[in-house]
Amino acid sequence: MITTSHVWLRRSATPMAIAAIPAILFILLFVFYAGWTIWTSFTDLALLGRKSVNPNFVWFDNYIRLVTRDGFLASVWTTTVFTFFSAIVGQCGIGLLLAILLKNSRFKLKSVVEFAILFGWLAPDVVAAFMWNAFASSDGMINVMILQPLGFEKVNLLNEYAIEVVIIANIWKGTAWSYLLFSAALDTVSKEVIEAAYMDGANALQRLRHVLLPLLRAQIATNLLFVTIWTYAFFSLIYALTGGGPGRETEVLSIYMYKQAFDVGKLGYGSAVAIAMMLIVGVLSVFYVRQSKDQTK
């Protein structure tokens, strides 16, 4: 049972345990909700109508529907493309590159660079969505400042290149987190190692490839783990920016799930999408954790 090695707390264990009860209830509710979603995914529970009161237990019907109908698989693909380019290539790649470039650099505007990418990160999702919406509109800054001077026609980028805009907006938004993490990680790399490689005649690319990347392997894997999990389930920025459109071009899994559950009203099917999403993220996480542990062997 609950014990303590601290003499002064021996008599206080009970009041302390009582004080913890509200938080424990909240945590249990959280777990209970997750279980409830699993249960719902095996029913045909609906938002409205008869099935909102008397849902049927339908076994794996919802999960079979996931793979036999187009919507879900198309959405998995969109989410994967979005995550790969915006989180893995964009945020993690640019964040790492920036951290290396700015470490010990005497670039006078270093703090401006840091503030610039931090602003993207700190701005609320909906503000970022509004700014990129205005930017990409047919009389927005990208058209007026870049495309028109170059002689291109006015184009509503959110209609023509929606997925690209969403990816760039998310890189703009999220790079700071990776940058901060890598910046802190680089502090732990000793200068001597880099200098030794330099003395041995390794050029910048070789130093990066054979010295720095192996040293940072664990941190890169950790960073990839976090940004992948977040980006895979990201909702607000994309939803506010495109609503999943035009058509279904930017309908990532979280938006697909939200629409199926609350617009179409199929709560059971929506739950199955949510659970499938968690399974995908879980598999990816296990992969990354393996990668980061290989190093110690």
Binding site: I2, T4, H6, W8, L9, S12, A13, M16, A17, A19, A20, P22, A23, L29, F30, Y33, T37, T40, L98, L101, L102, K103, F107, V113, A116, F119, A123, P124, V126, V127, M131, N133, A134, F135, D139, M141, V144, M145, W172, L180, L181, F182, A184, A185, T188, K191, E195, Y198, T222, F226, A233, S236, A240, L253, M257, A261, A274, M277, M278, S292
Partner: protein, 275 residues
């Protein structure tokens, strides 16, 4: 990098050009936001205003949008305070007592932390509808629920760093549990509690999905949903009002970050090292 690692002039020039371009790309949304918010003739394009006006800010600070600002404050303040109090009450015993399956519980808290909102949103909606909690109070409770696992984890680690000898000394001098907590533990954990409070505040301040799902009238919306409703619905976008609104909405999040910068950076280092 260091004195030994001199770059060729061409290399450092190209690096600087690259960084300068990066600044331009990253700051152009911000500069557009600033310029448009004080421009009497706002547009989606980039224009340096010829005269200044603060009318847009006045509009954004009155009527429905002021109401939404206050809603955001109320939601974020209540959720942050509730999260901090509940987390502190649970984290202290967690740090000091030997609880069975402690490590398992810690791991489950970490897992809950990465669970996406979509995993619980349907039950949240169903209970909210059944209990009449599709209102501000319900949003506060849900955001507390979402923040709590991480808050407990962080505070538990924080309490672990406070040496128990201090409390023991207090006990020897005859201090009760309440006195020990009030005069020894609480003053020492002020920084940790502040970090938790501000992190919960920022995350509730930014939250879009739950208030979007749970609130139905623009009088009840926090700023995230208010801004979305304003630029999502109308054909002709009022850029002046929306940019001013965005700046008012963004400012607290940035202010909080710079107030806490040092503590947060330490936290990041921890993430990188622990894995």
């Amino acid at each position: 990098m260091t004195a030994n690692l001199k770059k060729s002039p061409a290399q450092s020039v190209s690096t600087n050009v690259l960084l300068a371009m990066l600044i331009i790309v990253w700051l152009s949304p911000l500069s557009w936001l600033m310029m448009t918010s004080v421009n009497p003739n706002p547009s989606g394009g980039f224009a340096v205003p010829t005269s200044l006006t603060f009318d847009h800010f006045l509009t954004a600070m009155s009527g429905t949008s002021l109401r939404q600002f206050l809603n955001s404050l109320l939601i974020a303040f209540s959720a942050a305070t509730l999260t901090t109090i509940l987390a502190a009450l649970a984290a202290y015993p967690f740090s000091r007592l030997n609880i069975p399956y402690k490590n398992t519980i810690l791991w489950s808290l970490a897992l809950l932390r990465i669970l996406p909102s979509t995993a619980i949103i349907i039950p949240v909606f169903l209970t909210g509808r059944a209990l009449g909690l599709l209102n501000t109070g319900g949003v506060v409770l849900v955001l507390t629920l979402m923040n709590l696992p991480f808050a407990i984890l962080l505070l538990k680690n924080f309490f672990d760093t406070i040496p128990p000898e201090l409390e023991e000394a207090g006990y020897m001098e005859g201090a009760t549990l309440r006195q020990g907590l009030m005069y020894i533990v609480l003053p020492l954990s002020r920084a940790g509690l502040a970090v938790i409070w501000f992190m919960a505040f920022t995350s509730a301040w930014n939250e879009f999905l739950f208030p979007f799902l749970m609130l139905r009238s623009d009088q009840a919306f926090p700023m995230a949903v208010g801004l979305y409703a304003a630029f999502g619905q109308y054909g002709a976008t009022d850029y002046g009002f929306l940019t001013a609104y965005s700046i008012i909405y963004t400012a607290p999040a940035i202010a909080v970050y710079f107030m806490l910068k040092r503590n947060l950076t330490t936290g990041f280092a921890g993430v990188g090292v622990k894995g």
